[in-house]
Amino acid sequence: MNAWEGLVAEGPPESGMAYFEGTEKPEELIALAWILEDGSRKFYSSLLYLFDERAAKELFLNLADAEEHHKKSLVDLYRKVSGKKPGDAFPQDFISTEHSGDVMEGGMSVSEGIDWVKRNGLNAALELSVSLEANSYDLYIKMSRSMQDEHAQNVFKTLVTEEKQHLEKLAELLEKNL
């Protein structure tokens, strides 16, 4: 591991799933993923207004759009897995109010992330985004493994593939900027 010098994820094996106090029903995992995607969308949308560099703006816009697309995929999956239409209480019913609305991929608070980026600049924003996406990639692989339903596994596998593509795009821009 010391020789790895590549992308790493942090946290215990159940990382990101801790908000559910040990329950791991598919509907709850889907709701968690939706909340994290929504937090990341808010984060990337905020970054759009913090920097002037065109390539960075375009990438953050693409990432925000991708998170929105992921949210829709997760709502469709929730409908299929639960057999219910997500109500007004989705996904808040599945998560503690303490975390709801201000947490993003990687488990970091959205507002803390934005404040940190404001203090540290574009390269730090790209590095933090890489870290978020790496943790998200890690979490979705775990979620894919935990799903019994083949369709659900495939949805999470698609998310894994897309997070991997986000990482490649972020790494490319980070390399250009360094």
Binding site: L7, A9, E10, P12, P13, D138
Partner: protein
């Protein structure tokens, strides 16, 4: 004491670059990536997608690893 039949089976090793290339060319569902370190080490950092099976638990949890797929252990 009876020695398991695959006790002397050769296990190949991969360099870090070879592992990175393998992970780039394969989807996570096509291989097993196992972290055999301790939970505290895993928590500090791990390769994204790695499954934690501490070395002391391998005998009990070997059934969690798909034998049909290539397995990378670190």
């Amino acid at each position: 004491m009876k020695v398991p039949s695959d006790y002397f089976k050769k296990v190949s090793s991969m360099s870090v670059d070879e592992v990175k290339q393998f992970m780039r060319e394969n989807e996570p569902g096509e291989y097993n990536l196992i972290d055999v370190r301790q939970p505290e080490e895993y928590e500090i950092k791990h390769i994204p997608g790695a499954q934690l099976i501490p070395v002391g638990q391998i005998d009990d949890r070997a059934n969690e690893v798909n034998p049909e797929r290539p397995t990378i252990i670190y």
